[in-house]
């Protein structure tokens, strides 16, 4: 605390032998606060440990019965049938389909929105549209799932009757709905990345006579590439982890296919259906929840580490 006495003492001591600049009394309060804050940060480690632990036991029990190679490379997923089979690839294919279709929607729409809003849109339009995108982000996944099942699917059958529609569930429709849901995420992260590009870069290009098209595509976009790639990977992560929309709109048939009109089952939908379903606990069916959960966790972990590495690699651009 700066008191007049201290100032006087300080100026009086200006000419005398120096005293070390330490706190005049030990700050216990600071230490306590620091410890509390460290605990807050440590909580995240506790959570991760918890997740790993809660998945581990069931997974170990699962692999005691089912060989790992059967699980990872088998193409038939039928855990509750009399001739059971535990190949997880159909579930992974289901998730991959969702990622494919959602990215086909989210990336172009999200990037266009971001570029338009940051480079072209007048401030008033931006002020109106940005909140609208945020509303889209906040819509609960239950609503999106029902919308996909009850509105999008019949609509797409009317618009594209030549496709082989066989069932009310469709992975393509679910994927499109997930993509729509992810658009705000892509748009906002890409927008942040593009706004972080220094104005001097843009202005230099404009000064040389470039039009907005050139500036956007040849200057801003490449400069923001790290953020844009990060947005893409975040979006993929989100699509992988989506549960509700696929539960409602994509179906429950483990199907190793890439036809968008087919119904499939994703890893998340499988966990959701089984964990709230009518399986007797303690059976092999029950342990499938943990095995698939563990696979899901590992996959998203790998995706996130890739994202972090990509961002770090391109980040030194401006620092």
């Amino acid at each position: 605390m700066i008191t007049p006495r201290r100032i006087a003492a300080a100026s009086a001591g200006a000419g005398s032998p120096r005293r070390p600049l330490a706190a005049s009394r030990p700050r216990y309060g600071e230490r306590v606060i620091r410890a509390l804050l460290a605990l807050c940060a440590g909580l995240s480690v506790v959570v991760t440990t918890g997740i790993v632990l809660s998945l581990l036991v069931g997974t170990v029990d699962f692999f005691r019965v089912v060989p790992v190679t059967d699980f990872l490379f088998g193409t038939r997923w039928a855990p509750s049938f009399s001739d059971a089979s535990f190949g997880v690839l159909p579930l992974v294919a289901g998730t991959a389909n969702i990622v494919l279709w959602s990215m086909l929607v989210a990336v172009p729409v999200g990037l266009s929105s971001a570029i338009y809003l940051s480079e072209y849109a007048p401030a008033r339009l931006r002020k109106v549209v940005k909140p609208m995108l945020e509303v889209l982000e906040g819509i609960p996944t239950v609503a999106i799932g029902l919308f996909a099942l009850l509105f999008l699917r019949p609509l797409l059958e009317e618009l594209l009757p030549f496709l082989p529609w066989r069932t009310p569930h469709s992975v393509g429709v679910a994927g499109v709905a997930v993509g729509l849901m992810i658009v705000p995420l892509v748009a906002s992260v890409a927008d942040d990345a593009m706004r972080a590009v220094p104005r001097s870069l843009r202005e230099g290009a404009y000064a040389l006579g470039a039009g907005k098209l050139t500036v956007s595509t040849r200057v801003v976009f490449p400069a923001a590439i790290s953020g844009i790639v990060a947005a893409f990977v975040l979006a993929v992560s989100r699509a992988i982890g989506e549960t509700m929309v696929v539960l409602l709109a994509a179906g429950a048939s483990p199907n190793l296919t890439f036809l968008p009109t087919e119904s499939v089952q994703t890893m998340t939908a499988f966990i959701g259906q089984t964990a709230t379903g009518e399986i007797a606990t303690g059976t092999i069916d029950y342990y499938t929840i943990f095995a698939v959960g563990a696979l899901l966790f590992v996959l998203t972990l790998m995706m996130n580490m890739l994202a972090i590495r990509l961002v770090r690699r391109f980040r030194e651009v401006y620092e």
Binding site: L43, T48, V142, I144, L146, L234, N304
Partner: protein, 314 residues
């Protein structure tokens, strides 16, 4: 002019040079007419992309209104669920359950999220190896599917060491853990955005680390942290999957309380009613979507207002 001296090849320079080259080449070689067409087409295409998103949003809202509009009356939010009279059933217990869960989430994520971010950014030693591990861990957690958190909650919060049982508190903690990484990341960004001059000025005047943080950094980062909290809350309100595993009941006529009593939340209730055979219950589900949309709009408005009020310009 000295020849042969070039500026250092940082990435920034590279980009600037590439942009300059593109600009010059573009303006010198492209035919004027073609260029004007392109300059017009490009934003049109972009706007088309944007309008896909906006059309989707509009379609969803209109669909929900058409499907569930007839059930929108005061009873929708003041009546509890009813198996006998589905035309009269409402979302009161679900709304209260959601409020309890969200209340708990807010109380948990604000101190824990901000605390973790402050520690990582201000107090922790950044050169230590475990610091990067912390950040990596948080970023990973932000991407873990919500259903995995449901498994975690069932194992450790409902049963396990916390033994809370299937109550709103357990659901609240599970969802709080789910959205906590989002808050931490947003808070980290907000705190990082505070210029170091602010911190250094405070320190120069003799403030301790904590005083600097509490009186200078946090108020400055307030808007970013608030945005993160509101994003997290918006996500938390819409979560159904982990709560299904942690015991959000689907039919309870009693208003829930936090530490005891069965509870349900809006999305869980909607999910259940949407799958019933009775037409009235499915209409009720669509009406529930309208209730949630109203909530989302309200929260976003609050967010925008808060952001505009507290935004700092450096």
């Amino acid at each position: 002019m000295a020849t042969g001296t070039r500026p250092p090849r940082t990435a920034r320079t590279r980009l600037a040079v590439a942009g300059a080259r593109a600009a010059t080449v573009g303006s010198l070689t492209a035919p004027a007419a073609g260029r004007r067409v392109r300059e017009f087409l490009f934003p049109a295409v972009l706007f088309l992309g944007l309008s896909v998103a906006l059309t989707g949003l509009a379609a969803l809202i209109i669909w929900a209104v058409v499907q569930g509009g007839e059930r929108v009356n005061l009873g929708l939010v003041t009546n509890g669920p009813s198996a006998i009279n589905p035309e009269q059933a409402g979302y009161r217990t679900a709304i209260l359950g959601s409020l309890w869960v969200i209340g708990g989430v807010i109380v948990l994520i604000v101190p824990l999220g901000t605390g973790a971010a402050i520690y990582l950014e201000e107090f922790a030693d950044r050169t230590r190896w475990y610091h990067r591990l912390f950040e990596l861990n948080i970023q990973n957690l932000a991407g873990v599917p919500s259903i995995v958190f449901g498994i975690l909650g069932l194992a450790f919060i409902v049963r396990g060491p916390l033994q809370l049982g299937f109550v709103a508190a357990a659901g609240s903690i599970t969802v709080a853990l789910l959205v906590l990484p989002t808050v931490i990341i947003a808070a980290l960004e907000a705190i990082r955005a505070v210029p170091s001059s602010v911190r250094q000025g405070a320190m120069a005047l003799g403030a301790t680390k904590w005083q600097t943080v509490w009186h200078q950094v946090l108020p400055a980062a307030r808007s970013g942290i608030l945005t993160g909290v509101i994003l997290a809350v918006a996500r938390a309100i819409g979560e159904a999957a982990p709560l299904l595993l942690v015991g959000a009941v689907t039919f309870t006529m009693a208003d829930p309380s936090f530490f005891e009593g069965s509870y349900t939340t809006l999305p869980v209730q909607i999910y259940d009613w949407a799958r019933r055979p009775q037409e009235e219950l499915r209409t009720l589900a669509a009406a529930g979507i309208l209730v949630m949309l109203a909530l989302v709009l309200a929260m976003n408005s609050v967010a925008v207002w808060l952001r505009n009020r507290y935004e700092q310009k450096w």
